[in-house]
């Protein structure tokens, strides 16, 4: 018998039952955020209980204001209601909550790993597509819709069709100032935004092994942008080091048991994947997206592609539409695109390492465009302040905000104005994502900081050699 993949080993241990080709999968951890309000309402309407509130954790992120810690400043009554509901709902149903004002509050996908809620070998879900992030620790973690959120609340299970498996081997060494964000943008450029549809993706290869946990979280975060609900990395000593001592991680004897189990999880040498892809890490450079799909990415030194060179008529139409929406001209060098605002944050890139990378570029320089830095959680904020990063940012003229999703999706009001262009460390450059007629370019934190200083996309490698 062929060996098993990491995915199979975890999946097979969570099968409650199977019916007509679908699996009733047991869920170990359920993350809730302010948008989960609908799930609680449906439980209440039907008089259902939450089956395992002890396995659910809640934190507000999408609607959270980042400019104020005072409720009095939340003037929109609905925004106020949503911001507060998570606390009252969690208390009513017995869920652990890190409410607004708690220093553990933050973006669910930053908080989960940080608190040790995310652990190798688990199944995790959250009513948010970027739940794929957590797979970086070697668990099956998937985004679900709000009906499914209610299903998990009521039954602690989910009906699923087993996806196929894909391994993406990223082999080689990343160059100077090339980051995890550039890696995942390069992967998506290679396989396309639907390339992973129907698959669970395991990221492997020397570049992934060499990558920090923060970097792996960034890579897995954008798995959904490649069409896959679930990205993962085999747990290794780095994972174990990262998890150790976190508040909700196992302790004592349980820790020893967990270690033994986690070390058995990596895919067997003879495991067979339904698809394998290889990416050359040495060839990756800092990336910038220019269109309205994350696959519309180019290296910072490149020019924008020529739609007339596209043979596929659909591709050509997509490119032309993107040029029209983004207000750009084919063939122009990426470095000539000027930005109006810069956003450093989001579950993709709001961890401490991201802020350090941005601060390294900002240090001793001055922003020429308005720039927001939004830490992923209260603890990231605290850590950054302990390291003096907040000072670096404010001295460079960047705004240092409170944790939340912020301008990634703008549900809290942090938005671009129509026609404005951003350099953003978030994960989606869809039309209107950062506000009506907003134009988003996705980049790494270092590249975002570089754009903040020069006012246009700039190869951060040249700036760092200067320094």
């Amino acid at each position: 018998m062929a060996g098993q993949t990491l995915f199979d080993k975890i999946w097979n241990r969570h099968v409650v039952t199977e019916k007509h080709g679908q699996t009733l999968l047991y869920v170990d951890r359920h993350l809730l955020h302010d948008g989960s309000i609908w799930g609680f309402e449906r439980l209440r309407q039907n008089g259902w209980k939450m089956r395992r509130p002890d396995q659910a954790f809640a934190t507000p992120d999408h609607y959270t204001p980042t400019h104020t810690a005072s409720l009095d400043d939340l003037t929109d009554p609905r925004a106020r209601e949503i911001a507060l509901a998570i606390k009252s709902n969690s208390e009513e149903f017995g869920v652990t909550v890190f409410p607004w004002g708690d220093k553990r509050q933050g973006i669910a996908h930053v908080v989960g790993p940080e608190q040790g809620i995310t652990l190798p070998g688990l199944t995790m879900v959250c009513g948010d597509s970027h739940t794929s992030t957590h797979g970086a620790l070697g668990c099956i973690s998937m985004g679900i819709g709000s009906s499914e959120v209610t299903h998990v609340m009521a039954t602690q299970t989910l009906w699923q069709t087993k996806p196929k498996t894909m391994r993406i081997n990223i082999e080689g060494k990343l160059g100077f100032s090339v980051t995890a964000k550039d890696v995942i943008l390069a992967v998506i450029r290679q396989i396309g935004t639907a390339g992973g549809t129907g698959y669970a993706i395991e990221f492997a290869g020397s570049a992934i092994r060499d990558m920090s946990m923060e970097g792996r979280l960034t890579v897995c975060n954008m798995t959904i942008e490649a069409g896959s609900r679930c990205g993962m990395v085999a747990p290794d000593e780095k994972t174990i080091e990262y998890v150790k001592g976190r508040p909700f991680a196992p302790k004592g004897d349980k820790w020893d048991m967990a270690l033994k189990f986690w070390r058995s999880l990596p895919s067997d040498d003879d495991a067979v994947f339904d698809a394998e892809v290889t990416v050359d890490a040495n060839a990756i450079a800092p990336m910038v997206t220019w269109g309205n799909s994350p696959q519309e990415a180019v290296q910072v030194t490149e020019r924008l592609p020529d739609p007339d060179k596209e043979d596929d008529p659909d591709r050509k139409a997509t490119l032309l539409a993107a040029y029209d929406y983004m207000g750009l001209t084919p063939g122009m060098p990426i470095a000539e695109i000027a930005v109006d605002k810069v956003f450093i944050g989001a579950c993709t890139n709001a961890r401490i390492e991201d802020l350090r990378a941005a601060a390294a570029v900002a240090k001793g320089r001055k922003a020429t465009v308005p720039t927001l830095v939004v830490p992923g959680s209260g603890l990231v904020k605290e850590q950054a302040e302990a390291e003096g990063l907040d000072k670096v940012f404010t001295e460079a003229g960047f705004e240092w905000r409170l944790p939340g999703c912020s301008m990634c999706v703008g549900m809290n009001g942090d938005l671009l104005k129509p026609g404005e262009r951003s350099a953003s460390t978030s994960n989606r450059n869809f039309r209107g994502r950062q506000g009506v007629d907003s134009r988003t370019h996705l980049v790494s934190p270092a590249m975002a900081a570089a754009a903040a200083i020069t006012g246009h996309f700039t190869d951060v490698r040249t700036m760092m050699e200067d320094a």
Partner: protein
């Protein structure tokens, strides 16, 4: 949930590749409850309306006869992006019960089925043909039958589609998953009580 047996309506071609859920419903409407009487207005809102609320005449939903179309024929990777179920809510609020596409993003596909909207996968070629036909003959109807797994369009041409037996059963009978799973409570408890590999948890 309303059972889905068959459905016949005018087809509406949406010629957008990778049509994401931010386009189907922009994020700022997610705070509005699904029973809001204006919910139908939020579908494709920013493609459909100018900032002053006037209609954008170029968008297909603003053109006759497509205003009354209840079957969408889309392009590759329909519903990608955010997991927001409101995207399906906005379809339902407009009476749309079927989306036909060459591929549909996983989370959105699942959200559709939870709300009685049938996701139908046909080949890219067939979807292209259907959309072209709807442009040439506006008002053309599409007849979708779940029992026989067929789409009938183009004056009688029939296309077969695949759907898993479990999904089919649930849609045909309008079965609410949660009630059904709750009946498996004993099995779930047995699973919870027998997890040797996870004693550390």
């Amino acid at each position: 949930m309303e059972p889905f047996k068959s459905f016949k309506s005018m087809g509406m071609p949406i010629d957008i590749l990778n049509c994401d859920t931010d386009a189907i419903i922009p994020a700022r409407f997610l705070r509005i409850p699904l029973d809001d009487p204006d919910y139908n207005q939020y579908l494709f809102h920013d493609l459909r309306f100018n900032e002053d609320g006037s209609e954008k005449p170029d968008f297909i939903m603003n053109q006759q006869p497509f205003r009354d179309a209840k079957v969408i024929v889309a392009d590759v990777n329909w519903g990608c992006g955010s997991s927001r179920e409101h995207a399906v809510g906005a379809l339902v609020a407009n009476g749309i019960r079927v989306v036909i596409a060459p591929s549909i993003a996983d989370i959105h596909r699942s959200n559709c089925m939870k709300n009685g909207v049938l996701p139908v996968i046909l080949s890219r070629e067939d979807c292209d043909t259907l959309r072209a036909h709807m442009h040439e003959a506006p008002g053309a109807e599409i007849d979708v039958d779940l029992e026989t797994q067929t789409v009938t369009a183009l004056n009688g041409t029939t296309f077969n589609f695949e759907i898993g037996p479990f999904d089919k059963h649930r849609m045909l009978n309008g079965i609410d998953d949660i009630g059904m799973t709750m009946e498996l409570d004993a099995e779930i408890s047995a699973f919870e009580n027998d997890r040797k590999d996870y004693a550390w948890l």
